[in-house]
Amino acid sequence: MENKLKLKEEQINYLSSFPEQGMGYQIVDITLKNGIVLYNRIVFNSSYLKLNATEKIELDDIIQIDIIQNDWVV
């Protein structure tokens, strides 16, 4: 089972307003309140943030989610 975090309803609604990058997922940057930015993270169904296997992030740690508009093509 994947390690994942269900986002808050307001975050889900926010992500739902943006296009997908592929069927069922979006790519985002997550800014944490300690200033760390997690780049290129996957969110499933606009709802579930995929975390690394041992990663522990609380919902309240997240202060910003930025959708990546154009996908990675290089």
């Binding site: 889900i12 997908e20 069927m23 069922g24 290129n40 996957i42 499933f44 709802s47 996908d71």
Partner: protein, 232 residues
């Protein structure tokens, strides 16, 4: 598009590492925008959009010369404090694979992803399928029975191929999840609905090769015709 940097941005770019020899991949926000976009910067002063025309831009630079292009390009008005270096992500490097051969188990390779292909109207009869691990799939407006804007599906034919040959949908559609696909949502767009179709490109360590169809503006109301368990 091809742009050049403002001097302040160029100085900043000089202060951060290269992504590869002679170039940086950055993301940043345009002044007045809240959306990040990604760019390739050559030599800290020539900025190129990373979009479906990227290879055209590259050819322009090669054919007409770096100095000439730089001289003619407008400056890109990025918010300097929004500029960040992006780490290379090898998972998706094969986006622009060009060969075009059909592989075993009815997959396709090369060609183009949906976003790189022209828009077309649905014919009103064709059925598309969105597979999902989630019964409450957020890209479907269950009240209006439609896809919301910016949603991917596959074609019914490709879905049937995937089922009939017992292909792995995670690999076929290059999905980043390890969860089982449980649901299939059937969509029959109206003839006024617009889509782009293409081949799923390799990503996330998966081969891709399925058909993808992208509905930038979603679909009309009552185009969700049924929901079934995956494979049923």
């Amino acid at each position: 598009m091809i742009y050049k940097t403002y001097l302040s941005d160029s100085k900043y770019l000089l202060s951060i590492p290269e992504t590869g020899m002679g170039y940086q991949i950055i993301e940043g926000q345009l002044t007045g925008s809240y959306v990040k976009k990604r760019y390739i910067v050559y030599n800290c002063d020539l900025i190129v959009d990373i979009d479906t025309d990227f290879h055209t831009y590259k050819k322009q630079i090669i054919n007409r010369g770096y100095a000439s292009i730089l001289n003619e390009s407008a400056k890109l008005n990025l918010k300097t404090d929004s500029i960040r270096l992006v780490q290379r992500n090898y998972q998706n490097e094969n986006k622009y694979v060009t060969e075009s051969i059909e592989l075993y188990n009815k997959r396709h390779s090369g060609k183009k992803g949906a976003l790189e292909n022209p828009k077309e109207y649905a014919n009103g009869n064709e059925i598309f399928v969105r597979i999902s691990a989630y019964e409450d799939d957020k890209r479907i407006d269950f009240l209006k029975k439609k896809l919301i804007n910016g949603t991917y599906t596959t074609t019914h034919n490709d879905y049937l191929d995937c089922i009939n040959i017992v292909d792995n949908p995670i690999d076929r559609y290059a999905l980043p999840n390890d969860e089982n696909i449980k649901w299939a949502f059937y969509i029959q767009p109206n003839s006024v609905d617009i889509l782009q179709r293409g081949i799923v490109q390799p990503a996330f360590g998966h081969q891709g090769g399925g058909i993808e169809a992208y509905f930038e503006n979603g679909t009309s109301e009552n185009t969700l015709i049924t929901k079934r368990e995956y494979g049923k």
